[in-house]
Amino acid sequence: MVPKVDTSFERHDLTDEQLVALLRTMVAHRTLESRGFQLNRQGKIPFASAGEGHEAVQAGAAMAFRRGVDVLVPYYRDLGLDIGIGVTAYEILLSLFGRAADHSAGRQFPHHYASRKLGLYSISSVIAAQLPHAVGAAYAMKLRGEERAVLTTCGDGATSEGEWHESMNFAAIHRLPVVVLCENNEWAISTPLSKQMAQPDIYKRAEGYGMPGVLVDGMDPVACYAAVKTALDRARSGGGPALVEAKCYRFLAHTTDDDDRTYRSRDEVAERRKRDPVPLFERTLIENGVMTADDVEALKRSVLDETNEATDRAEAMPYPKPEDLYTNVYSANFQPWQ
Amino acid sequence: MTTTMAKTDIKTGKLERYGLTDDKLRALLRNMLLQRQLDNRGFQLNRQGKVPFALGSEGHEALQAGAAMAFERGKDILAPYYRDLGLCLGIGLSPYEILLSIFARAADHNGGRQFPNHYSSKQAGLMSFSSILAAHIPHAVGAAYAIKYRGEQGRAVLVTSGDGTTSEGEWHESMNFAAIHELPMVMLVENNEWAISTPLDKQMAQPEIWKRAAGYGMPGRRFNGFDPIETYGAVKEAMDRARSGGGPSIVEGTCYRYLAHSTDDNDMTYRTKEVVQERRKNDPVPRFEALLVEYGVMSERDVEAMRKDVLRETNDATDRAEAMPYPQPSDLYTHVYEGAWEPWQ
């Protein structure tokens, strides 16, 4: 189901600079992801995944995130969110190459960043396992009486996990400052939404838990910004949790290991490409006089230059050493037989 | 929350009986009386030091008697939880079988392996379950899938849980799957407002479990679980829908847990006597007795005779079960796998 195209431009409280920043995040997201796929095809890295189609929701949500205040507990498809809250192109390339200087020192899969400084939590690849962590972090904030909130995200498929349910319920009982942003791209690898749940609107589950549920067009970055901002503002000021569902689409295969032609038609994907959020938002900004076409081109060039430079720098960095396998298992050196 | 017998209110002057004959109404009452008697017996035996553990379902009698009457013996499957003594009685277990389980005798269905109230009987369509909350709900879904897959008409699975159990991940995963595949299953939630010492408002932010149904894309409904007739009507409607291809639903019966969670619990550490006494005013057992007398289904003497008969049956069953032998020590080793077994071969 295709959300309706909204032709009226509603910028909410965003300045021109912020609108340009939104586009920059979206373009950087797309460029860095293409880079991952290129490097994989060149045989330089074993794996990459992509969020094409998620650029708008992630850029918008990242802009609603308060750096230095909020906490982000993302999932593996959140490259754009990570960029939007401050992860650099170089850090992303370090992770893709699995280099020692990477945040996890080359331990984690690509796109599993973590940074205490940015308020970005460490996640595994295990679906929905991050949601209880987000709820626990929000509990800590509430207990200490802080005006902060947790933004956590998940895919549509993740809502089927028991941990998703348990997290939603607990967040609602304790009115915790947490916003669950579900990026509904209608697919979970090869499983379509209709096999994931019997009714297609995830936000409708919120009522059953006793929290607000919000639906937003995930192809519209400004709308996503506004929806997530409202929810985060409410959460920070004691209004409790919310579930925000952004309807978007996954344009590419699940990862470099997947071939989506086995389970969905090219026509479907082509049809959904018509609402590709990146060119759509470029056009919106140009038509509304926020940027010129030349500005957009310049922005893209600058992102590409940055990506190229980051690729070269990261590739030149060393791998972790074999002995790095043994550190940080426990707080100190450890032997199971003592 | 008010807990009146709404549909059977004497003031309306008419008894909504969902087609239940006088015989069926009396059977409902007998089940309720038997539940209470057997529950008491478990607690008595525990105080006498004869059994280590008992679990009561006082307050659930109407709900369980009504739901059991909507179960079609020989066709449907019941996947109950540990507080479902009355449901299991209602689908055909005898007081003797209940007491075998309480005494953990060899002749018990489980050979004395399980806790009391964890019955199973393939013949009765009663699935084996553990004490692990919500673990049985996916099993019910699997059984419903099998029924649908084989194209068996007119069968459905009735699965039950407490209010607290709805917080488990497996509860959620099960509801979602049942809805996707439109399975012949009814999720009956016995909302007694407590999960051991945890009140409903610490279990969920909004107290109406049936409202979760919409989020899964299935019908949900709430009914007064203190009213056995209304319960029967609600559960029957849901089971009929499930049996005829209409898919699953969540039905929530409101009731109350009058006793402590089990013989190992002291509920006065977390709730007051006054609160419980207040709720006792709506005790479904005397109210249903009064209702049947009021409507001329039974006389007071009939009721009295039924109570005596229930007590006699319970006493007989107690004596017979107690006289039965325990399992042998060697019974510990059987049924780990099919056949004899050694991990080192």
Partner: protein, 335 residues
């Protein structure tokens, strides 16, 4: 042990062997259903069930929501109600949410109902590393489950064993955890007898005879241990290699007979050492054959860290190579 109904055979890799066996199971028994994530149109992430959905329909090839506890739990209910479900956990790393249903429910159903309800169920899952799977696509899980009475565990290494053991698992009246090493999926090819046959659970396979040392392993490392043993053969050292194939039950006779002959034992596995399968084998041999031993039992296993990392050096450091295995064998032979 393979009881083949036909003298002909076909060369397959392990993916093809799993696929062919599942296909036959679906063909021959309509109580068989497969449920798991992406087993339908996608045909499983390794293409094991590719096109099954077209032939057997979505009622039998069930694309589940992402909910592992219920994948196993629903399979338990299906089994209790007379179907023969084969549940798939997409990667062994994602089996943890279903721990309760495997350990607390499936393994106890027969016991708790005193035999009235049973749980004939197969849970298949790809495990193991060497594929750059990082922390969440590379783990070994067997040690977490082999402690559990009521459960059986199989971990074959060769295509012919995959077929015979998977058939046995499907026929088995009890729950079986069937572990497929994902690195062997396409790497390992071999002759697979045509027609239906089973290999009994709990029977190890003596792959290579030798006189100076017994090496016991399972899964991917069987192949590497064999490679190492062959290298040692060229050096004039004689090593016997046993492929366990089944982890629970485990074959005592084959191990003891071999150890009594070679008088030395090396256990090699990819899972970490502490509390691993090797610990149980060591204890059994110590209890039953201590005075036959001429050297301490040795175990070559993964280090005590949670998992292998993504970067290549971290993965290589975690895993044992055929070279390291050869070195451990030499040391023990010379002891």
């Amino acid at each position: 042990m393979a009881v083949s109904s036909s003298a002909t055979s076909t060369v397959m890799n392990n993916v093809e062997a799993v696929r062919a066996t599942l296909y036959e199971a679906l063909k021959s028994d309509d109580r068989t259903v497969i449920l798991g994530e992406d087993v339908g149109a996608r045909g499983n992430v390794f293409l094991i069930t590719k096109d099954f959905i077209n032939e057997f329909g979505p009622q039998r090839i069930i694309d589940t929501p992402i909910a592992e506890a219920s994948i196993v739990g629903i399979a338990v209910g299906m089994a209790m109600e007379g179907l023969r479900p084969i549940a798939e956990i997409q990667f062994a790393d994602f089996i943890y949410p279903s721990f309760n249903q495997i350990v607390g429910e499936a393994a106890k159903t027969r016991y708790r109902s005193n035999g009235e309800y049973t749980c004939p169920l197969v849970i298949r899952t790809p495990y193991g590393g060497g594929v750059r799977g990082a922390l969440s696509h590379s783990v070994s899980i067997e040690a977490l489950f082999y402690h559990v009475p009521g459960l059986k565990i199989v971990a074959p290494a060769f295509p012919a064993d995959v077929k015979g053991l998977l058939n046995a698992a499907i026929d088995d009246p009890d729950p079986v955890l069937f572990l497929e090493h994902k690195k062997t999926y396409r790497l390992i090819k071999g002759e697979v007898p045509d027609g239906h046959y089973t290999i009994p659970l709990g029977k190890a396979n003596l792959l290579k005879e030798g006189t100076q040392l017994t090496v016991v392993s399972y899964g991917l490392y069987v192949h590497w241990a064999l490679e190492a043993a062959q290298k040692l053969q060229e050096e004039g050292l004689s090593v016997e290699v046993i492929d366990l194939r089944s982890i629970r039950p485990m074959d005592k006779g084959t191990i003891l007979r071999s150890v009594e002959k070679t008088r030395k034992l090396l256990i090699v596995h990819e899972d970490n050492k502490f509390g691993g399968i090797g610990a149980e084998i060591s204890a059994m041999v110590a209890e039953e054959a201590l005075f036959h031993l001429d050297a301490p039992i040795r175990r070559l296993c993964a280090p005590d860290v949670p998992a292998m990392g993504y970067a290549l050096p971290l993965e290589e450091e975690y895993m044992s190579s055929p070279g390291e295995m050869a070195e451990a064998m030499r040391e023990l032979v010379r002891f």
